[in-house]
């Protein structure tokens, strides 16, 4: 457990909270308190300090905004009184939500339902009544954590789906999911805004309205396309907006989405940097996590996407709670292949269909990623993958048992510079984890699970990836093989991939096919992971 804790705090410290913190989350949480009452300000400051939080106080809303704008990443959470002389607390709340996307807690001596309601509607993640007790403040970190998880999920899912869809011909923009409908996980964190799901009308978002654009998969897909086309470094809201060509979308919408996207990517990157620098052995953390309950499960049934996270995971790694467990579990499959228990734990929470353990392809995909230079595990029964990769254009995995959908093809795979790649990969691994479709859903995404967890690993993974890259450039006839389903490695950064997953059933089953697992020699994993 101790080990877990230090991993946790490492990740928290470096991955999620950019500035140096005490080693034990939630200590060091950076709180901005805004209250025009000097007495309360002082009391709150003292209380928060007792919680070992880092406190900054402000007695004016304007001052608070200024502080927030000056250093975007300097605070984790804002606590503000509702009644302030210079600005309505709700207005401040809106600003913070839109510009900085931080969790905001409202406070007031007035606990009237209507006020509380207003707070919630404006996006407050909590509403505290004065006098405020210590115990209430001790737990405010949960809002930060929740937000990070949600964000990570949101983006990963968006990314994942966007990748899924890229191959499909479902370009109809009518796939703007209504909030109440399928993509409920696409909701903004301010869920009550969902009642404004006729978001197309909010073109003139120059005023800070409560309602916000719902970034559906398609929309996000367009967004990412545009970003990638422009080039991540040169990107700007105006350019993106122009490329996206969505008439009702405003520059502000794009700007705020871009900001979130950037924050999200940078968090991933930081986490990855930190991970590689600390040289955390994947396996070690894996082993600890094997029996976690935390699973990302992404059900795609009847067009409804639901992302479930079993929050019994103890690894409350802010950044990684989505990524790490999934990565770990993927590794679980590759590393402890003969241990059914491990497989089992990674299966927890998944749809039953996945139990059917017919995922050679999946398995091998992951194996590719996890095992560095030795691709000898292409001794996987059905296909000698390594050879295959050198001889064939695409990376095919035999899925005869389970997959009976159309082969997928994709146009290109790009490998970005290491860091970014790694970060994207992490995204992907979690996506792959999370985007498990059940019988009804055809879409699958697999990500190469490049681990950045230890440096050596990184390099070997990269070199592998380069090899793969060469071999993974497909033409559109990738599906020429008699495979029922092709699974492909791909990475996010740089380009997106046209994955044409057939719409038939893909029993996106188990990654951890026991047969497959059993047949892969164990020694393969040793060198890769135990560095």
């Amino acid at each position: 457990m101790v080990h877990n804790r230090s991993i946790l705090s490492h990740n928290i410290d470096n991955g999620c909270f950019p500035s140096p913190h005490l080693d034990a989350f939630p200590a060091g949480l950076r709180v901005l308190v805004v209250d025009d009452d000097p007495t309360w300000l002082r009391i709150l400051e003292k209380m928060l300090k007792k919680c070992f939080y880092q406190v900054t106080t402000c007695c004016l809303a304007i001052e608070a905004l200024k502080k927030l704008r000056e250093k975007k990443d300097a605070y984790d959470i804002v606590i503000s009184d509702v009644n302030m002389p210079d600005m309505d607390g709700f207005k401040l709340l809106e600003h913070v939500g839109l510009e900085m996307d931080l969790p905001v807690i409202m406070m007031s001596v007035d606990g009237e339902t209507s006020r509380v309601m207003k707070g919630v509607q404006h996006g407050a993640c909590d509403y505290l009544l004065k006098p405020i007790r210590m115990k209430e403040l001790r737990n405010i970190w949960q809002h930060v954590l929740r937000k990070r998880i949600h964000e990570a999920r949101e983006f990963e899912t968006l990314e994942g789906i966007h990748l899924m869809r890229n191959g499909s011909n479902h370009t109809d923009d009518s796939n703007m999911f209504a909030v109440g409908g399928e993509m409920n996980l696409m909701k903004k964190r301010k869920d009550l805004d969902n009642k404004h799901d006729d978001d197309k009308e909010f073109g003139d978002q120059t005023s800070l309205k409560k309602a916000r654009v719902i970034w559906s998969v398609d929309l996000h897909q367009k967004f990412v396309k545009a970003v990638n086309r422009i080039g991540f470094d040169k990107v700007g809201p105006k350019k993106i907006l122009d490329l996206m060509n969505v008439p009702w979308l405003t520059r502000e919408n794009v700007a705020s989405h871009l900001q979130k996207y950037r924050l999200y990517l940078s968090r991933l990157q930081k986490e990855n940097d930190q991970k590689s620098s600390t040289g955390l052995s994947f396996l070690n953390s894996l082993n600890k996590q094997q029996n976690d309950g935390a699973i990302d499960e992404f059900r795609y049934s009847d067009g409804t996407l639901k992302l479930h996270m079993d929050t019994t995971s103890h690894e409350v790694d802010l950044n990684g709670i989505v990524t790490r467990p999934t990565i770990e579990k993927i590794r679980a499959s590759t590393c402890d292949i003969t241990d059914p228990k491990i497989r089992k734990s990674s299966q927890i929470g998944r749809n039953q269909p996945f139990e059917s353990a017919e995922s050679e392809a999946n398995h091998t995909v992951f194996e590719y990623s996890t095992v560095s230079t030795q691709c000898s595990w292409n001794e996987v029964p059905k296909r000698p993958l390594k050879e295959e990769q050198n001889t064939q254009k695409h990376f095919q995995i035999d899925q005869s048992q389970s997959m009976n959908s159309n082969p997928s093809d994709y146009k290109s795979v790009y490998i970005s510079p290491v860091n970014l790649m790694v970060s994207e990969v992490d995204t992907f691994s979690s996506q792959s984890k999370s985007l498990i479709a059940n019988d009804q859903s055809p879409d699958i995404i697999f990500a190469s699970n490049l681990s950045s967890k230890d440096p050596g690993y990184n390099l070997s993974c990269i070199s592998d990836m380069e090899i793969y890259q060469r071999n993974l450039i497909l033409d559109s006839h990738a599906a020429s093989t008699p495979l029922d389903e092709d699974l492909h490695l791909f990475l996010l950064q740089g380009e997106y991939y046209n994955m044409n997953f057939g719409m038939q059933n893909i029993e996106m089953s188990e990654y951890y096919d026991p047969r497959l697992i059993a047949e892969v020699p164990t020694n393969l994993y040793d060198s890769a992971d135990y560095s």
Binding site: D37, T39, N83
Partner: protein, 150 residues
């Protein structure tokens, strides 16, 4: 000896403040926040409260002098005042504030004014008692920890 006496006196003072309904749980919370880093935290807070709220009192008096009475304005200030008073646990002051706000809601100018007088009396009386309390506390020396009145 003297110290023990002082401490006993102090405890009694506090007890009576609570028994008579002048202070509530919040005061204890403040005492619990007191530590080595801020050994006089409670006194500090109370001082801050009285300093800040005095300007609110003036503002209230000004508003109440107007005719016709601006209930909205009065209510706004009262809301602030109530919030402030809750910070030190000034129970009776808080209760009176709530009453005034209710009178504002119903447009009862007479009620507002009368209630305000009540509240001000309590406000002033409490200040005096707390001043005495802190004076004695300084004599008694640092307390080991916050003690809850029975």
């Amino acid at each position: 000896m003297d110290r023990n006496n002082s401490r006993r006196q102090l405890a009694a003072m506090k007890q009576s403040l609570f028994d008579q309904g002048h202070l509530d749980e919040q005061f204890i919370q403040l005492e619990e926040l007191q530590d080595d880093a801020n050994p006089n935290f409670v006194e500090e807070i109370v001082t801050l409260y009285y300093r800040d709220s005095s300007r609110l009192i003036s503002s209230l008096e000004q508003t109440l002098e107007r005719n016709p009475l601006d209930f909205n304005k009065l209510d706004t200030i009262m809301h602030q005042f109530k919030g402030s008073s809750s910070s030190i646990g000034a129970k009776k002051v808080k209760a009176e504030s709530t009453l005034i706000r209710e009178y504002c809601r119903t447009g009862n100018a007479e009620g507002c004014r009368k209630s305000f007088q009540q509240m001000k009396k309590e406000y002033v009386a409490l200040r005096k008692r707390l001043e005495n309390y802190f004076q004695l506390a300084r004599q008694a020396g640092p307390m080991d920890r916050a003690s809850r009145p029975k």
